[in-house]
């Protein structure tokens, strides 16, 4: 397959993830969006590694997935704390620095 196809897919994923972040009101859904963006980045890496003699891309992708997992865990932890303060998960409503 051509490289561009993978890149197109990756761009599409990135764009949707961005759209979800920007549009969706639910905090969990925003996290899903972030995940989606990370995944698009991983897909980009792997795609480039297919057409490359070294497999450094794939190696990097594995590390990236692990980091993504850890980061989501932290994100969820923050979300729980925010929910404790604001008592809502609607990101649109969290617009004061202080509460």
């Amino acid at each position: 397959m051509k490289l561009e196809a993978f890149l197109y897919l990756s761009v599409f994923l990135f764009a949707s993830g961005l759209t979800i972040i920007l549009v969706k009101k639910n905090a969990v859904l925003v996290l899903i969006g972030i995940e989606l963006i990370l995944n698009s980045a991983n897909l980009n890496l792997v795609a480039f590694s297919k057409f490359d003699p070294s497999i450094s891309g794939q190696m990097f992708a594995i590390f990236s997935i692990v980091l993504a997992a850890g980061e989501i865990a932290i994100g969820l932890a923050i979300l729980i704390n925010v929910y404790k303060s604001y008592l809502t998960t609607n990101v649109g409503e969290i617009d004061h620095l202080k509460h």
Partner: protein, 635 residues
């Protein structure tokens, strides 16, 4: 020096003495001074007496007594003594006798001081003092408003003339001369003009002559002393002293003004009803003669006339005083005791006074065998000779002077004859009278003495010779005088004598045969004109009132304009400040408000940008990022 101050000291001492004797004390002091004056004549016979003293840095005060001064001092003391003797009776019963004595003493001292003064500062000082003391004396009856007013007016006119004198003196002193004996060269015309005008004021020439008739408001002995013999001759004295140094054109002016004054006064004297007014105008006229003498160059004749005039004029005033005493005695204050229309036929009641008055009048008129003839003749001859010399040069206006002088010589016997006939002759106009009135000895003696001195013997041996004065060369030794050719002298003397006789006859025919006056006699214009002294003082009055009116109206205009402009100014200020206030409120506040609103709007807008939700912020971030990257990549 002590001679000067004796009279004033006498006056002060006499103030403290009891009322009846105070004038006698004054008289004693003056008599002593008189003796001293005789001694003074002897002292300065050969050489004049000069004493000087350093005053301040550059000024010395100097007195100079030469023969002329010593002679005049003696004259002053003599007449003053006679006046005091006369006043003993005249002022009897007056409350302010002590004040009178003091003022007289002050006056006599000032006059003597004037005569001895050499430095101009001293001269001016005594000049002013004489004027001031004469004001005090004229205003003796100060509680009478009219009299006080007259005194004020006479003093004021005098002062104006004194201002001229002061200017002249200052001009002289700038040039460097400080005293009269220091002047060596002829004066500038302008300096001389000022000095001459100052002398005119004291000697009552036109235009300053308004004060003398007014000064008759004082007591008669005062008039006798001041206005016959002493103060009015101060001006003449000054000019005689300065005469060698007065430039020719100025002398011309002096002669013309003197002639004009003489004529003016004689004309006015014709229509006066008050005894003393006639004599006052007569004094002005005779002073005019003296001025003619000086202007014409006949200085010795002028001095001679001064000398003789003192005697007969004082005699005339005092006999008039004697008449007034009589009238007072008869009438009290019912009728005006000085009005000649109330008199007539007094020779029955006052025989001694009549004789004296007649003698002095004839001397005034200038009848031969009397002193007046000799002195006046000299002046007349001098004026003719002078006019001839000018006429030879083709300047015939100079003939005005002798023409006027001779005309006045005609008018003089007319007015004085008129006075004689009205007062003494014919049937009396008095409604009541007293016979057997014995005039007091105090009065008779002085006037007899003066009458005697009006006769020719004491002045020159030849009664018809006007150059024959004993003292002619004595007095003005060293001063050049013109000599008049004999032919001119004779002609003018004959003419003068004829005029006198004609004048007396005219007076006799008009007045000597019983004229009845009604008090509101029809006054034709000429009589009014002459009576008011050619309206001289009235015109002065008019000038001063109109000037006052002009000043007042100007002041009102001024006020209005000033008020107006102040109002305008205030209004402008208010308008200005209001507009500034408006500008301040509207513009400045507007700007401030606007910027505040702007800041707050911007703040609101921008903060709204910032305080949106997270998602919008992320969106903005992304857009910005894209912009930056594309900028880096494509620019």
């Amino acid at each position: 020096m002590a001679l000067t101050f004796l009279p004033i000291i006498g006056g002060i001492i006499a103030y403290g003495v009891k009322k009846e004797w105070c004038l006698q004390v004054n008289a004693i002091f003056v008599f002593v001074s008189l003796l001293g004056a005789f001694g003074l004549i002897g002292l300065v016979h050969d050489e004049s007496f000069i004493a000087s003293r350093q005053w301040v840095d550059h000024y010395t005060l100097q007195i100079n007594v030469d023969r002329l001064a010593a002679l005049l001092i003696t004259l002053v003391y003599f007449i003053a003594f006679l006046v005091l003797v006369f006043s003993v009776h005249y002022m009897r019963g007056e409350d302010g006798v002590r004040r009178y004595g003091l003022k007289l003493g002050f006056f006599i001292s000032s006059m003597v001081g004037l005569l001895i003064a050499d430095s101009f500062i001293l001269l001016f000082l005594f000049w002013e003092l004489v004027g001031f003391s004469s004001f005090l004396l004229i205003g003796y009856w100060y509680y009478d408003k009219d009299k006080a007013q007259s005194a004020k007016q006479s003093f004021m006119i005098n002062r104006v003339a004194d201002a001229f004198l002061l200017v002249g003196i200052i001009l002289l002193m700038i040039k460097g001369d400080q005293s009269m004996s220091e002047i060596k060269e002829p004066l500038d015309f302008s300096t001389g003009l000022f000095l001459v005008f100052g002398a005119f004021g004291k000697s009552a020439q036109l235009p300053f002559s308004g004060w003398l008739p007014k000064a008759m408001a004082g007591p008669t002995p005062v008039s006798a002393l001041i206005h016959a013999a002493t103060m009015v001759t101060a001006g003449v004295y000054l000019l005689i002293r300065l005469s060698p140094f007065i430039p020719e054109p100025l002398k011309f002016i002096i002669a013309i003004i003197g002639a004009g004054t003489a004529f003016y006064a004689a004309f006015s004297a014709l229509a006066q009803y008050d005894i003393k007014s006639v004599l006052a105008y007569s004094t002005i006229s005779q002073l005019g003669y003296m001025m003619i003498g000086i202007g014409v160059g006949a200085t010795s004749s002028a001095a001679f006339h001064l000398w003789t005039h003192a005697f007969f004029k004082a005699g005339l005033f005092m006999s008039a005083g004697s008449v007034i005493i009589y009238m007072h005695h008869v009438f009290g204050h019912q009728y005006d005791s000085q009005d000649m229309r109330n008199m007539g036929g007094l020779k029955r009641f006052l025989p001694a006074t009549f004789i004296v008055h007649t003698i002095c009048s004839l001397s005034l008129a200038g009848l031969p065998f009397f002193s007046g003839f000799m002195s006046k003749g000299g002046i007349l001859a001098g004026s003719v000779h002078w006019a001839q010399s000018y006429g030879d040069m083709g300047f015939i206006w100079a003939y005005f002077v002798p023409v006027l002088a001779f005309l006045t010589a005609l008018l003089t016997p007319i007015y004085i004859g008129r006075q004689l006939f009205l007062v003494y002759w014919n049937k009396t106009n008095l409604p009541i009278w007293i016979t057997g009135f014995n005039q007091s000895l105090w009065v008779k003696l002085p006037i007899f003495l003066l009458a005697i001195f009006s006769v020719w013997i004491f002045f020159g041996l030849n009664p018809l010779d006007s150059n024959g004065w004993y003292l002619k060369d004595y007095v003005l030794a060293g001063v050049e005088v013109i000599t008049v050719p004999f032919k001119v002298t004779v002609i003018s003397e004959i003419a003068a004598a004829l005029l006198v006789i004609v004048g007396l006859l005219i007076a006799y025919f008009i007045y000597g045969r019983g004229v009845v006056f009604s008090i509101d006699q029809k006054r034709n214009f000429f009589i009014q004109f002459a009576h008011q002294g050619w309206f001289l003082s009235t015109s002065y009055q008019a000038i001063s009132t109109s000037y006052l009116a002009i000043c007042q109206s100007l002041a009102k205009i001024d006020e209005r304009i000033i008020d107006h402009s102040i109002d305008l100014f205030a209004i402008t200020m208010v308008m200005l400040s209001r507009s500034m206030g408006w500008m301040d409120r509207f513009i400045v506040d507007g700007i401030v408000g606007f910027s505040a609103k702007f800041a707050s709007t911007m703040g609101t807008v921008l903060s709204r940008l910032q305080s949106r939700g997270i998602q919008s912020q992320i969106l903005y971030l992304l857009i910005l990022l894209t912009g930056i990257i594309s900028w880096i990549l494509f620019l």
